[in-house]
Symmetry: C2
Amino acid sequence: MAVTPDPLFSRVDGALPALSQMEVSALEVVRKQGPLSRTDLSEALSTSRASVTSIVGSLLEANVLTEIGQGKSEGGRPPMLLDVNSQLGFIAGVDIGATSIDLALADFRGTILEHSSEPIDIQMGPEPLLTQICDELEGMLARRGAGPQDMLGIGIGVPGPVQFSTGLLIAPPLMPTWEGYPIKQYVRRRFPHARPVVDNDVNIMALGELRAGAGSDLDNFLFIKIGTGIGCGIISNKTVYRGSDGCAGDVGHICVDYNGPICHCGNPGCLEYMAAGPAIASKGLQAAESGQSEFLARRLKENGGVLTSRDVGDAAAAGDRIANEIVRQSGKMIGGVLAGLVNFYNPRAIFIGGGVSKIGHQLLSTIRQATLRRATALSTRLLRIEYSQLGDDAGVMGAIWLAMEHVFIANG
Amino acid sequence: MAVTPDPLFSRVDGALPALSQMEVSALEVVRKQGPLSRTDLSEALSTSRASVTSIVGSLLEANVLTEIGQGKSEGGRPPMLLDVNSQLGFIAGVDIGATSIDLALADFRGTILEHSSEPIDIQMGPEPLLTQICDELEGMLARRGAGPQDMLGIGIGVPGPVQFSTGLLIAPPLMPTWEGYPIKQYVRRRFPHARPVVDNDVNIMALGELRAGAGSDLDNFLFIKIGTGIGCGIISNKTVYRGSDGCAGDVGHICVDYNGPICHCGNPGCLEYMAAGPAIASKGLQAAESGQSEFLARRLKENGGVLTSRDVGDAAAAGDRIANEIVRQSGKMIGGVLAGLVNFYNPRAIFIGGGVSKIGHQLLSTIRQATLRRATALSTRLLRIEYSQLGDDAGVMGAIWLAMEHVFIANG
């Protein structure tokens, strides 16, 4: 078994070994289908019984798998069943948003043991926020009688473009003070045996939906997050597709109107500038102030002069004509862009999540209508367009799976 | 070695075996890097020397590889070098266009032995055209003293949407009489030992560029064909990405103007309706008839009342103001769509081919400008936008490689 040394990975007292590709594949199968016998595993991997025996031997020796007793006999000696050793250590999932953060501690099988969610302000900068995150994760470990050395993997999603190989943020518009900050190194100082992985928030949501949600039996799908911005996670052949520079899925700056208003990126008519949360809120404010919408004028007063996209959604749900029109406009623009992506990428499904996706069913139905109307017949025949099955948990679930996938990858 | 029986594959006298995934990988390495020794091969495949010895044994027995003599000694006994057995049989590449057809015969290494190109009319329907193609391929074989039984693989590109698994065309707008026609079965009747594979023309162009052109060291790139329509071949992780229904890359029907004219697909403002060859020709005709362009008016008379996009390109190259503006309009629309695809897919390169791409450099430079201006900074930092290196040969080269990739795949 080749172990590639990783200078950043500093566990000295029994460091986790880097596993071979076949060993990682075997672990994934057991995690997904276990408990199972060596014969089942050899069938699932299409490998000879002899090599499965050798692979399982290494994984048992490394304490990654465990034998949990005998299964049902099918004639001969009953087979010994294998399962992932959930006691090997802990995994954390961290989903950082612009205004909130989700943390979860899981066992080595991916079962969530504790989950917390709280408001933050991303503008506080990397050190204070990472300190807060690590303190809370230590608390979660302590409540299970464990310490920082028992954390084996940490997956972190951030709302900005990430160079995946280094885990550094590149020119993040929502969190400029995080640019180039060494998140992985900070986390490793606090959890010396953990292998941290950093990725864009929409990528981890897509991964969550793939591993634990509605995408589990799909090869190719898209996850669209609608919030302050609009982003897309791409699943290609059952893995996250990140593109040549790690910035694939940046659909928020696709043009929907060449004569539209200038986005903060400098170009006219970007989708996210015209259709995301702030655009909906600002159109709602206009409708409230001009008196076109009584509902929104009342809500504006109650809120002390502030309106959110959620308020516009509430107005639409209450039958407010203007609010409905505002939501429909956003849905049409988003669906128009999705139609182009469906023609190009021919995914089997599009899952929609993010805060603004919760403003009501009108948005989803307009997006669906606009996408299906514009995309080609062949590409939409079997296409599903649905809300994320995991909802708010897609990010934190994906972060846990991202961490689990990378625990044994050298230099991961 | 598991051989999955294929009812359509009828070679009885020494049928080619289906190879295992590892054997196919070994063959690909030798084809790309050979001649090489077993040690080189074991390094390239990251596999033990023992399993390489067993893999090579099977491939030598099947006559797929051959030992071509001893290489240079590096101290001990000089190693035996392996190469693909180019004499095993023949491979054909067929690139069917709407108005022309390219045929090539290659040896088993992929070296082209004979290449022909001629005008056709796709409207003649499948039987007469396939008969003509097979007759010509038989002629090429005969000139090498070989017969139909020596053809091992045939790759066929067609200008329409293909269900890759069956090789059937689905609702092809340019060739309606081909819908559902069993191309593979016809070809197998003529070449009983050949495994035919049918794919969309742009997919095979992208594959050609990947295997034998400017994309050979790139993981992710796009190939855009501009002709009567506009299509896109997608390379993802060094393989052709076909999407969930095999229709990925249908970028010609992405909307560029929601208030635009109605395309033959029924939607307003499709890219190909507004920017491809026929749109350029029709705007040129208008300029000629209205007298806005003297050059085009003259050309129209010379051509007997017909203008093509090539004529508009000639006028632009000669400095005609209106013609230049027509070409620029197309380039801007194509670049605008490509910018969105670059944001979404983050490819390393875009290669441009197809008949209309040859109307002059003005088109490429406008496409490049429009794409770079609109796409995000991170996704364009290393992006190359260039003409296809293989040009007119991209399709036929890709068809040969497609055939070679599928010769040993059961049910391929």
